[in-house]
């Protein structure tokens, strides 16, 4: 039998070596101790030092207090932290967290700070939790920074036997994102997602400090966006009258996102991916629902805006202008991917227009793009495009245009060489839909075009500046995971997105060392905790491993 003192030492050592912080994304600078603290039953968060604290900050404070009480996350160790009870009972209590803004900082709303241009957002914060139970503090130079700090603060705590506690005081965190763009794309056209599902996703994004919701809101299959002045598009192009985002819904989503530190960039993909516009405006669409679809589009149904037609250009510019007024973001994506040349080659109207003006197809595309972008720039928007607009076509774009790299991570270098700011969205790392099998009918042996499934580990091992020069690396704005929804709906939204999308959230915020194997070793236990915490908050995250592995860090590694 062991003498009692040996047992105590043994237990303490175990506690120290087991994971005691579940922060995700990992702060850029983090110092922790080994002193336990328990949360006082009267714990409060004060923002009283902030003059005229905006209502969204006040709400964020309330939300943080609620999460700390309701998370009830048990530590992911054998015994789920029940062994912590003894040490926690004797610990100091933490009764207060005080928020304050730096000298001279203006207390704008979180929403307005979030909607600034990406480089202009100030998300930095400092968080301290003393070991003696005196008050914790978060300081920042913006309410957005305070919000990020609150998000971190809620992740510090575990629960056992009714006590909320942490084990690693004192804590000192200096944090700020490595990249200004940390996004998630959701396609609400292939299948529709109600506002509640979108909001639920925004919540989960905010817990991961993601700040950019890329809303691929319409496509060839359906047009759920009700655009003032263009309501016929949704009236005839939405799947049904319930599968529509009204202007009020959009405002609701935008403000819900803003209050959570998230900017909403809408995408109206043009000139391709627009077949459904033919329901209301057949005059603007070439090769609408032409068959065989595979000759006219990458997926059914075929149909693209008649970009050589002046009337269509004017219509599109008007539509984009109207949409841009619905979204306060400085960013607006006009898409530009997968333009099908055969569709236009076979379209009599397009050929007539080209003949009449003497333009080539590429020249017509340039005219179309310049006209639509000019309209957006007039609204104060920065255009965002998919990579083909830079790599596959000869289109004049304004210098500040942002380019989304999607086809392959191999294309990043070429976009950077052209001097454009870029966003990583490569299918070979970040497509959440890959690996779900072929969805096209009558194709029993068809697999996902972008097989295999992108594991969190694969995404996490992405190097954002691979093969780039130092100057080119400065063009990298960050990146995003993406969910195309041919095989997704509200039914599998959570499990197909989470916790995998957390993987890139940390990539862009924390900029791991680049030593993939070392990074993955430390990431997995934290990602498990993040995933379990998200579950506690009602998100149906998938299991990354059997629970046996989740509570034994490293035990299920390849060579363990």
């Amino acid at each position: 039998m062991f003498p009692k003192s040996t047992l105590v030492v043994f237990a303490t050592l175990l506690t120290v070596f087991a994971p005691v912080d579940a922060l995700w994304p990992q702060p850029r600078s983090l110092q922790t101790g080994t002193t336990p603290l328990r949360l006082s039953s009267g714990f409060d968060i004060s923002a009283s030092s902030i003059h005229n604290a905006p209502t969204d900050l006040q709400q964020a404070v309330q939300d943080a207090k609620t999460l700390i009480q309701t998370d009830k996350l048990q530590r992911l160790v054998v015994g789920r932290g029940s062994g912590d009870a003894a040490v926690v009972q004797k610990a100091h209590t933490l009764s207060k967290l005080t928020l304050s803004l730096g000298k001279g900082a203006i207390a704008n709303s979180i929403t307005s700070e979030s909607q600034k241009a990406p480089e202009a957002r100030d998300e930095a914060y400092t968080l301290t939790v003393p070991s003696d139970g005196t008050g914790a503090t978060i300081t920042a130079n913006s309410t957005l920074g305070l919000f990020r700090g609150l998000t971190t603060f809620t992740q510090l705590f575990y629960e056992t036997g009714g006590t909320t506690y942490l084990l690693n005081a004192p804590i000192h965190i200096e944090d700020s994102p490595a990249y200004p763009w940390r996004g998630l794309l959701l396609d609400t056209s292939r299948n529709f997602f109600p506002v509640d599902a979108v909001k639920h996703t925004l919540d989960a994004m905010s817990w991961n400090k993601m700040n950019q919701f890329h809303w691929h809101i319409v496509d060839s299959q359906s047009f759920p966006l009700q655009v003032p002045g263009y309501t016929d598009l949704a009236a005839k192009g939405a799947y049904d009258s319930q599968s529509v985002y009204s202007p009020q819904d959009v405002a609701d989503v935008v403000s819900y996102a803003g209050a959570r530190g998230i900017d909403v960039m809408v995408e109206i993909d043009t000139p391709g991916h627009t077949a459904v516009i033919s329901q209301a405006h057949p005059e603007h669409i070439a090769c609408a629902e032409a068959t065989p679809w595979a000759s006219f589009a990458n997926e059914p149904p075929a149909g693209q805006l008649r970009l050589a037609s002046n009337a269509t250009i004017a219509y599109t510019a008007g539509l984009l202008t109207a949409v841009s007024k619905m979204f306060p973001s400085t960013l607006f994506s006009t898409g530009g991917d997968e333009i099908n040349a055969n569709c236009y080659a076979q379209d009599v109207e397009t050929q007539q227009a080209l003949n009449a003006t003497g333009k080539t197809f590429e020249q017509a595309l340039d005219t179309f793009t310049q006209a639509t972008h000019k309209a957006l720039i007039a609204e104060g928007k920065t255009p965002v495009v998919w990579e083909e607009m830079v790599l596959a076509h000869n289109v004049t774009l304004s210098n500040n245009t942002l380019v989304l790299v999607w086809i392959s991570s191999d294309d990043v270098k070429a976009v950077a060489e052209k001097g454009f700011k870029l966003i990583h969205a490569a299918s070979d790392y970040f497509y959440l839909d890959c690996g779900g099998g072929g969805w096209v009918g009558e194709n029993p042996d068809g697999n996902s075009w972008c097989d295999p499934f992108k594991t969190w580990q694969h995404s996490y091992s992405f190097d954002p500046t691979a093969n780039l020069t130092a100057d080119e690396a400065k063009l990298v704005m960050g990146g995003q995971h993406l969910l195309w929804t041919e095989q997704s709906g509200p039914q599998n939204l959570d499990p197909i997105v989470w916790p995998r999308a957390s993987s890139s959230a940390e990539l862009w915020w924390s900029a791991p060392s680049g030593n993939a194997s070392a990074d993955l070793d430390t990431a997995l236990p934290r990602l498990h905790e993040m995933s379990y915490r998200m579950r506690q908050r009602g998100v149906d995250t998938i299991s990354l491993q059997p629970e046996w592995c989740a509570i034994r860090p490293g035990a299920c590694d390849l060579t363990a």
Binding site: W293, Q457, L520, S543, L558
Partner: protein
């Protein structure tokens, strides 16, 4: 002036197209199906009259559930407009007032669905006849058993759509004569890698019953956790479950068994032995070799290592006893003892095993034979038919079947072998003249394609990539390369969910509607009611329909395609 309205005959033509689409929407499609083109609406006072003497409670409850689904499904037809244009033809349509349920012939004693569902394979009566006259009034459902009536009720529920307040079908008269092509139509769920609460299992049983799946293969324990509380052996779960709330108590088990039975489903439990048992070490270290040995990859196919020390007579007795105790918890005539992935190096390094083998002079294979014989002998005394995994992955394991066959041919004849490693392994099982259930990873593993879950392996993929689409599963041929004289050995098949990367969070979405694929493969067989071969293009619109109906009933089944495609049968086919 020209009328802006299309002539009446044109409308009628459209209506024919409509009918042809919706007639296809039964899943699994009945073996014999005749339909007409007369619309019928369901009367507001529609009733199901059970004209069965002493109707058992589970039949009455089944009828009540059907009645409820008719009202709550609220499924709009999957066509552009979601059936709104049907209102015109429904106006003034005849009404169906009731469905009469009768048992055919002279049934001396009416049995409950539950007791019919757990009869041995081959002796269950699932056939039924359903007739709905075009004149409305009364529909009739008859069968030779309450289980058959239940299958017919399931079909009846799928005939109806809703537009506005009207519940209707467009294809009366309907005459269906139906029975399954194969007696075993299953779904396997692993509740050991990650735990699933009883409510998730019940929801899955509901969805299974809607597709006429009749076997729940419950892979209840494994190396990672032991959630089953076995009377007399409660210490195994006490120390081996993930937590005290991640446990199936005896009352949970009987709750699940009776819930399943009332839905025409037999529960075959699997206690995988001698491998996949590491966690038993927590309560009985004396019975487990190479527990948590490192590197795990040397001693097991996945972490953690640990296998029953089967060469030890004490371990053999212990195992036989707790298998018998488990068998008493499950009324099924089937019991799986697993037998897959037995790791030889684990025993080579185990001192106790080597000492025993030295002292008895037995080889490892001979010791395994003794172990299997003893365990199966115990189960057979309790009236159970043993089920084992085929195993092509190690030399040792294909022996599981060999052993039984060599040792006692008469015993071997009724052992059921589950084919899992590859569809090609079925031929080997047939060569042993053993009955088989198809569960090949290359067609039916629902977990494939979700990437590597082992840590520190960023470029690892799913071992059984790619993802098995519904289309892939649907094209499975149950008779493969078997000779005509071997085909009788095929009992059916099942799709399987191993849960290293699954939990309650994605249970619905990873299983449904894909698992419905094999449900039709093994119910309907090779041909459609019109005699043509079963095929993915006519199946897809029906499977969409089933999926949307499941969503209406609260199952988070994934979309198979964009809704645009689901509303336009064929439009998203490869060459459309």
């Amino acid at each position: 002036m020209l009328s802006s309205r299309p002539p009446h005959s044109f409308l009628a033509l459209l209506y024919v197209v409509t009918c042809m689409q919706s007639v296809l929407c039964l899943w699994p499609i009945p073996r014999s199906l005749q339909t007409g083109s007369t619309p019928l609406t369901l009367s507001g006072s529609f009733s199901i009259d059970i004209q069965v003497p002493n109707a058992p409670g589970d039949l009455q409850e089944a009828a009540a559930r059907t009645h409820s689904y008719l009202k709550t499904d609220q499924l709009g037809r999957l066509a552009v407009g979601r059936g709104a244009s049907d209102a015109a033809v429904l106006h003034g349509a005849k009404q169906l007032n009731s469905l009469h349920l009768t048992l055919a012939g002279s049934v001396s004693k009416v049995q409950s669905i539950s007791s019919e569902a757990i009869l041995p394979l081959g002796s269950r009566s699932e056939e039924y006849m359903l007739s709905i006259p075009s004149t409305g009034g009364t529909a009739t459902l008859s069968a030779n058993s309450t289980l058959g009536l239940f299958r017919g009720l399931t079909t009846f529920e799928q005939l109806w759509y809703t537009t506005g307040e009207t519940i209707y079908t467009l294809e009366a008269p309907i005459h269906i004569v139906d029975s399954p092509a194969f007696p075993y139509r299953g779904l396997m769920l692993d509740t050991a890698r990650n735990f699933f609460p009883v409510s998730d299992i019940k929801r899955t049983l509901d969805a299974m019953s809607w597709t006429k799946i009749n076997q729940f293969h419950w892979h209840i324990t494994d190396s990672q956790s032991f959630p089953l509380e076995i009377p007399g052996f409660t210490e195994i779960a006490e120390k081996g479950a993930y937590s005290s709330s991640s446990v199936f108590s005896p009352s949970d088990v009987s709750d699940i068994v009776s819930y399943a039975g009332a839905r025409g489903i037999d529960v075959v439990v699997e206690i995988d032995t001698p491998g996949h048992t590491a966690i038993i070490y927590e309560s009985h270290p004396e019975h487990v070799a190479c527990f948590d040995a490192s590197p795990w990859a040397t001693y097991a196919n996945e972490p953690m290592a640990g296998q029953l020390r089967f060469a030890s007579p004490a371990t053999t007795n212990f195992t036989t006893s707790f298998l018998e105790a488990t068998a008493k918890m499950f009324p099924s005539s089937l019991f799986s003892t697993g037998g897959d992935e037995v790791n030889v190096p684990c025993y080579d390094q185990d001192e106790e095993t080597q000492q025993i083998l030295n002292s008895t002079g037995q080889s490892l294979l001979e010791a395994l034979q003794t172990f299997v014989d003893t365990a199966h002998g115990g189960l057979k005394k309790l009236g159970k038919t043993p089920v084992v995994w085929e195993d092509g992955s190690t030399e040792l394991v294909s022996i599981g079947a060999d052993l039984i066959l060599d040792h006692n041919v008469t015993v071997a004849n009724d052992t059921v072998v589950m084919v899992w490693s590859s569809s090609e392994a079925a031929v080997g099982v047939a060569a042993l003249n053993l009955h088989m259930v198809h569960g090949p990873s290359d067609y039916f593993y629902l977990d494939c394609g979700a990437g590597e879950w082992i840590g520190a392996d960023p470029d690892g993929n799913s071992w059984c990539d790619p993802f098995k689409t519904w289309q892939r599963s649907y094209t499975f041929d149950p008779f493969l390369d078997l000779t005509a004289s071997q085909q009788h050995l095929v009992l059916g098949g099942e799709q399987l969910l191993w849960t290293e990367q699954s939990g309650p969070q994605n249970l619905d979405s990873i299983v449904w509607p894909r698992a419905a694929s094999s449900a039709e493969v093994f119910w309907t067989g090779a041909t459609l009611p019109d005699g043509s071969p079963r095929n993915v293009s006519s199946a897809l619109p029906r499977l969409h329909d089933l999926r949307f109906r499941m969503v209406q009933r609260g199952i988070n089944a994934i979309p198979l395609q964009p809704l645009w495609c689901a509303l336009r049968p064929g439009a998203c086919d490869l060459t459309a």
